[in-house]
Symmetry: C2
Amino acid sequence: MSRPQVSVYVGQSLDGFIARPDHSLDWLETFDTTGEDHGYQPFYESCDAIVVGRATLEVVLQFTEWPWKGKRVIVCTHRPIGRRHGEETHEGPLAPLLERLGAEGVRRVYLDGGATIRGGLAEGLVDDMTITTLPILLGAGIPLFGGPVVPERWTLVSHRAFPSGLVQGTWVRDDR
Amino acid sequence: MSRPQVSVYVGQSLDGFIARPDHSLDWLETFDTTGEDHGYQPFYESCDAIVVGRATLEVVLQFTEWPWKGKRVIVCTHRPIGRRHGEETHEGPLAPLLERLGAEGVRRVYLDGGATIRGGLAEGLVDDMTITTLPILLGAGIPLFGGPVVPERWTLVSHRAFPSGLVQGTWVRDDR
């Protein structure tokens, strides 16, 4: 079995933050996106497993409902977690985890959370990124990028703007 | 006379850098943009003065031709400069400079360079930003953003993608 496709689907501020310094996502809700379909549902359904960091898990555990029902969730952390929803854990580089997931039949992984995404980029394991940019400058927070990345070059495969002011692009890796 | 409109027109990598760590812009040239009009010329012509940082000046002085011929150029620096092309200098916050430029009849300023743009955003003086994102991850460099910003909210007024993979948006300040 080969390594699964690794995909990022994330919202960022205009200044490249995916959450405020305390990891909060309140600013994402301040935009009226009524009637807009940003394509999340088909993306989510196409993923067999979700690989996230500890901080993202903590935020998601505050939601009224567990958003990843029925999906395999692997949390990258070196500390024990509650496993309230059957979450698995992983420690260390992503490559061995992805190899194992591939062997277990996982074909597409939804990689989420700042540190985890940056880890995937540093290991050269991210295949595509759908990034939605919101018209807000946060000034500080958890950055989407900001570390070593492989590869340098990407190919823009789609882009669109929404009436709410959100702009979305999808880039796939370009191993030229 | 009122304060001039302050505008940013800049290219960034997908990870938010406007230059490599050594300030080089070589990566900007690696994209084939033949036949594409990114709207720079009308923007440039609409500006009466250019306000840049010292580092940007040093890069521009390496170009074979001085790109700001016939324009008033103010360099934000606390060290003396060569003034090879009649550049003026300014030290300290941008607000007093902009007030003076307004009184001298300047109606639109082209604010350029990482530190200078971030300074303008921190002082809440930037009115509009045209940001062109290139499909490349640099991993390190001079960031466009990453400090305190005023205001938080902006309005997306235009957005387009080019065959080269460049994506351009223009945002104007939103003082709600």
